[in-house]
Symmetry: C2
Subunit: 293 residues, 2 copies
């Protein structure tokens, strides 16, 4: 990771986290529910989605303040999806980021409700932001599509089906365009909405986001094979053990790495079409494909 | 039930349901996810919340069209909460409205995700409505508060705590003001937003809604004792069997009926302060307290 990106990440993660925790701390809700919501939000993570919102604002020299709020909202949606994903009836994971999963600490009922509450809260926070009603409504609409049945939740359902039978490459790509891609694309598009970019710039940024989303997922699949449980903070080798449809399973490990390189290159190519200094987003792409967890 | 209310209910339920099913049918999502979402939406129910939205619009002689959309959204939120509530880790119910619960048909994982998808879709539909951005944002904000940790989900958490120890009356009221009351109040307030009523009228309508919400819950508790499983479409006597904190448990059955009559009277008194023909909302209140399921 180069110095520019390192500085960007290290200076912004604490700000995103402070904003996100404050947004939850201030709601008037039962203490154990808030505690359960905050437990998973505080469990760490790379905070890639909020950082993407901020990176787009940075690209256009805009104030990052509203980006911290939108980034927090996206991280809440991401976190609720992990809480529900980890439930015994879903992936049945006991550990996430090296810590016991939400339901292991608070029980399944409260974990389910903490996820529900984070999902619902996200939309309220967008509605209360200090930007025009038109922008807030656009963000609510885009997030609902990205996070719901037409995006993340739909991708999750397809992914479950992919555990029962081997998917082909087109199906696998479709899973990931929705399951992980939709929220990543929203992060970058939300940054574009806040930064008031042109429609043309937005289209280019979405193209970048599309390829980064797929690259992110392919690297995830590769790390499941090449990473260690310690590095990952979750059980390594789980995909292979469960015979899950993944890029390496479909294309071999080398084929998956080639596919990863292709998407990385497409993402970089998209950026070249923008008229601003894109070095931060270029470095971000490199970080996504080289990360070890 | 008088003829006016009977006609109002019978003519509007099919319209609400047609709108609600169409809103879900048209999304681009995995077939089994949509099927699971629609299964619970189509399982019936009294549709009281959408009817309240429409009743407020009717009170002010407004077009009901946008009310059908907002009513559908509220019914989606109500339905997702029932799907999650019925899960084995929560109330573990096998039947709802006389039909197998969502997870009994589709499995727990898909039921959890269908609930998540309905929750998320609700906000997107509000954002895409054909009213001003300001009104849409107000509805998103109010719904998020009513349905989330500060409202319905928070009430659900308190209710779970009430299954572990006997609550006092203030605590029990607090549970129901949130668990069932918040979404009922939102229904009436959403009608007020769409009908462009004055702040004063809105305050009066919210007062009516507050008492109707509590009356609704007290009658629910009474029906658990006096109703039959057949009438209710769910297991009767469950509260008593599980030693749950309820109004009859705290106040005796007669005491609960007195409390019900009090809230009914407060609701009626609030209506008298409005300068329009309130007969529909008055009849609605009577229906809530006399209903058998």
């Amino acid at each position: 990771m180069n110095e520019q990106l390192k500085h960007f990440i290290e200076s912004n993660i604490p700000q995103v986290e402070a904003e996100m925790f404050a947004l939850v701390e201030k709601i008037d809700a039962p203490a154990d529910l808030k505690e359960s919501m905050l437990y998973s939000l505080k469990a760490g993570g790379k905070r890639i989605r909020p950082l993407f919102v901020l990176a787009v604002l940075e690209l256009y020299n805009k104030n990052l303040k509203e980006g911290l709020t939108v980034g927090s909202v996206i991280e809440m949606i991401h976190t609720y999806s992990l809480i529900h994903d980890d439930l015994p009836s879903m992936d049945n994971d006991d550990f996430r980021r090296g810590k016991p999963t939400n339901h292991k600490v608070y029980g399944e009922a409260l974990a389910t409700l903490a996820g529900d509450a984070l999902n619902t809260l996200a939309f309220g926070i967008l509605a209360r932001m200090d930007v025009s009603a038109e922008k807030r409504i656009e963000l609510v609409n885009l997030l609902s599509v990205a996070a719901g049945a037409e995006g993340m939740v739909g991708g999750q359902v397809l992914d479950m089906e992919g555990e029962k039978r081997q998917l082909n490459l087109a199906e696998l790509e479709h899973v990931h365009i929705n399951k992980t891609g939709a929220l990543l694309r929203f992060s970058i598009e939300a940054g574009a909405v806040l930064a008031d970019v042109t429609q043309e710039e937005r289209t280019i940024l979405k193209e970048y986001a599309h390829h980064i989303g797929l690259a992110f997922q392919i690297q995830d699949d590769i790390l499941d094979i090449e990473g260690t449980t310690e590095e990952l903070g979750k059980t390594a080798g789980k995909d292979v053990a469960s015979d899950k449809s993944t890029y390496p399973a479909l294309l071999s490990l080398d084929g998956a790495k080639e596919k990863l390189a292709e998407h990385y290159q497409h993402a970089i190519n998209a950026l070249e079409k923008l008229q601003v200094d894109v070095s931060l987003l270029r470095e971000f792409a490199a970080y996504i494909v080289h990360r070890k967890n």
